[in-house]
Subunit: 346 residues, 4 copies
């Protein structure tokens, strides 16, 4: 049993960490922080957590924090994270950072898309926390850059084909749709119920979304060459879930059966990836609440394109669940500990 | 570890039993039946269950069934249940029946609201499976009549006040609102997405809903006198959740504080009932996916009425979760086994 | 053709006024104000209005305003309205005020529920703008207090029975459910999509909602005696719509048929009230987008109670549509001008 | 004023025809048919239409029908339409067919995707009812093949670029998302509220959807060469609305400004097409309930692709509204008659 801290507990990823960790057999939430709700029980902020996570929110300095847990989840905005993480590491704590601050390996790329980086020396050490690709380095890491939600769905969707050199990386188009929890819990007109409900819209179209360089970094590493992609995010009137529909031109004449086999083999030891049968397509509400990533592939011989569809719960496999999976790996726990609940349907 | 069977696995309560039981530490789903999906994996019917409940649906006779498990959940329509349950009992199996067939103690009342009863001899033996009221008899029962969803929310909401003779039982008005999963998975125009979405409506108004006699039976037992109530069900554009807003005239001048104390005391040992602080009101999405019942009470001195609000997940505490809770009690398991996940929010 | 001004055009009621008025055959929107969006086209704030209401939002003094239109809709918060309305009246303009500032006849009641009133001298002059009850005085009024959304649904629901002395006014319980647009367009955590979606909850329970005195004022006038009621608002995960389920004890033995006849007669000349057949119940999505109020009554002889159900679109009959109806009456237009579109389903 | 008939009035497109036509200044609904609801008022099937379209549903032979109106909307399934339309034409009636039966010019293509065609002789005469492309021939047509919903959004989205030879037609990928009303009002498990709500999924992926040949036919005509495209439909948890996100590789170096100008010019006389400013993206709830098609274009120089986004209400511009627009053109009415209501938001 280890003690874990949730830094930034009053956002949706913080709440989800609490939801998952309050039932984890090996972890105890020993500290939770929130500037806004300091002194109030987390279960007052999220009444769903009553009797499950009644811990009081605190507002602590990094030094005070370090004394309170063995491992920390930093569920704070980018920029805040890069200022906080080094002090936690300096106290020999393990850190799983859910912000974007340590995901981009090239500091100049980071600074182009975000802002100046205050602790670039950790970019090299940080491990990109996608267990299906980086499990062995995660095992011994002390700083995990937990992947973004859109990137998780797209990278897992394309990894087998890119690794096998099956598609032209410059033909990749990722049309992604996300639930509204991805926009966070800040009060904004654009995410009010009446603005989102019964509607659907794209946003940040045309290399405007900050997940673009993260996605391209990982796809390029898989392909062994630079991948420049089109990525279009859309806002769905659902709470949770991302579905990415990904198009790419096949390099070689691979048929439907061969590609499904390739995916099944690639993910054969991965509990959290479910490769579907032909003509079964993923749905966000089939993975809701779980750490699963459902993937389906469809070859269209008429256009020589493959269409990959990938669904995750953006708050679980796209954020807090993947963070717990990383913790499990780092701490030698069973990788599915605390993550074995079935998806939530209907 | 016991073997359990889910009879009627392809409906929403069947799917929810599978969702809860597939992670239960003491129970193994050894058989699941569905006439419609015979021979197909349950995870094909509900893709959410892939890798979690891949059991093949079967279509078996009662005798064949009996050989396959120690305890059965009958998640079939009323009428079907009354014909099946006796043969399972005859094989010395425990049965938790999720239909209405064994809930009404007075066969003439049952037959007035439903149809002739084919096995009235079991009405006396059946235990009404509301653990908060009948735990000790559930322990030794072999046939549980698992309560209806609306009745669970209303009975738990009123039990402390009725037991204490605090309200006039003939002034009770229960205005209840339910999510659409309560209408089942049968294909009907009235529950199509476009008919329900972005809408709200009452139905079966004025002593027309079959849960009325079940509610009145239990409220009368609590009050020690006949209670005739107004009960109005409404259909909410949500998947899961019931919220009942219940009005009654106070018998004695009880104030807000006294009534909250009365509720806190009544439910002090009940893990699954959460009595909220004054002016915190229950919400269906604070109990979603969990076996919790959240209750809030508010006294209005101007009208001398008390308003009780009670929220449950109709598929969990209102059906499958309560059934698992009953199984836990009958089998001597920890009462929260398989039911300890935190509610699902957002 | 008259010129009309929308003061406070960037909220949901302002947008709805623009939606209805941009197609009105007798009215031209000559001015629209918004402090926040000054200088920007209204169709930038609400892209739905492109090509329909491209007017530029302005920020004007009352004197400047008065020169720009013949009649004004004040869709601003209470308190702001009471400071603005007198200057518009001083310029001999007609005003339809959508705030609560002129709805309560007794200034002490107003001040108990709101705050000190800066222009109480207009309370006597203001006409409560419910055409079905006050049409003849509306005709010659220059200041209309446009009714609240909940009050509209409840008062129209009870008027025939109260007028006929058919129910005991002290037994009235109004259990009301509203769509989220009623909470306005201000950015608040509580009305974010993820907080409201797939959920349902009561709020301001127990004489805590400010519509209570407005409802009681009008019900008392109808009954000819003081009515003290229970009113419980709830928040629905829909954009538009209010459904009130209202319970009261019958004074005399009126049967189902008699009460339906009473309602049909009472509303026989009212285009916007639709009295439904027995066992047809109103639904918010059957009135959505329209100025209709659908009403159904059900007698329960077992409890001697009548249950009245009343549905409106809170933004139309509960606000902007009723305001346009009042304008039509005040200006001698056909009462259904600009309001004759059929409800919007599905 | 003409008399019009709605054949197949009890489906969603039938209901929408009734909603639009009941307020049309030049058209009178003189007959409405429904086998299922014969003898019952249409307003009983759709309570929203009470007092607006109380016409009784009938079940008539083609000959009986022909005597009852001047122009017919056939809102029946494909196959049914092809058997009915010829007899209406034989009686010299105008027909606007909302099925797919007369949309495909090449009978062999039709028969490959649907079934044998019983009246192929009318394929040549039928005019594809997309006014923005075929207005002049619609004027004098007697049989209109009203376009499919997905095709409308995609063809309007690409027409300016294809006409100008700006993109390579073999690089077109249309990722489309539709509201659930597109699936019709038939009772099916897959479109139940609980299956669709809070979820999102693709379906008929990889040249499997029957709108594919219709889209390719029209895009090929615009391009002047065969276009083979990728088209992926998805199901949105909303009632109405289609948003298509369309990707294509630019043929020449056109910049953002040039392409917006090209679109503005192409659609300058089209009331129902709104070309948005740069970085304003369409949303389904900005066109809901209206006949508008909102289009936005975004050039991505890094990939040399253009991204076109196009939003319509699938039941209006994607079906019944476009049908009314076609009627207006055929009958010499103002093209916006009955279609001038502003979109419905929130």
């Amino acid at each position: 049993m280890i003690n874990v801290g949730i830094i930034g507990a009053s956002g949706y990823t913080g709440a989800e960490l609490a939801r998952l960790l309050c039932c984890h057999p090996e972890a105890n939430i020993s500290v939770a922080t929130s500037r806004q709700y300091e002194g109030r029980p987390l279960s007052e902020v999220f009444p769903s957590l009553r009797k499950k996570a009644d811990i009081i929110c605190e507002n602590l300095t990094p030094d005070e924090l370090a004394a309170r847990a063995d491992l920390f989840f930093t569920a704070v905005p980018h920029k805040t994270a890069m200022d906080l993480v080094p002090s936690l590491l300096a106290h020999d704590k393990k850190v799983i950072d859910l912000s974007a601050d340590f995901r981009i390996r090239d500091v100049s790329v980071y600074e182009k898309w975000y802002q100046p980086h205050s602790s670039p020396e950790f970019l090299r050490e940080a491990v990109y926390g996608l267990p299906e690709l980086y499990r062995s380095t995660i095992k011994s890491a002390r700083l995990i850059a937990n992947p973004g939600c859109y990137p998780t769905s797209i990278i897992l969707g394309l990894a087998p084909l890119l690794k096998a050199d099956g598609i032209d990386p410059n033909t990749i188009i990722a049309d992604s749709k996300s639930g509204t929890s991805g926009a966070g819990r800040g009060a904004q007109t654009g995410t009010l119920f009446c603005e989102v409900h019964d509607g659907f819209r794209p946003y940040k179209v045309g290399r405007a979304h900050r997940h673009t360089p993260e996605i391209e970094q990982e796809l390029s590493l898989l392909a062994g060459t630079d991948a420049v992609i089109s990525f279009t995010p859309h806002l769905l009137p659902i709470s949770r879930g991302i579905l990415s529909t990904i198009y790419a031109t096949l390099r070689t004449k691979l048929n439907q059966e061969q590609i499904i086999s390739m995916y099944r083999e690639f993910y054969q030891d991965e509990f959290f990836v479910r490769v579907l049968d032909e003509d079964c397509f993923p749905a966000t509400n089939s993975v809701r609440g779980s750490n699963f990533c459902d993937i389906s592939v469809k070859v269209d011989p008429a256009t020589n394109r493959v269409i990959v569809m990938s669904a995750i719960d953006n708050v679980v496999k796209g954020a807090s669940g993947q963070a717990v999976q990383n913790m499990n790996i780092m701490c030698g726990f069973d990788e599915t500990s605390g993550l074995d609940a079935a998806p939530f349907f209907p």
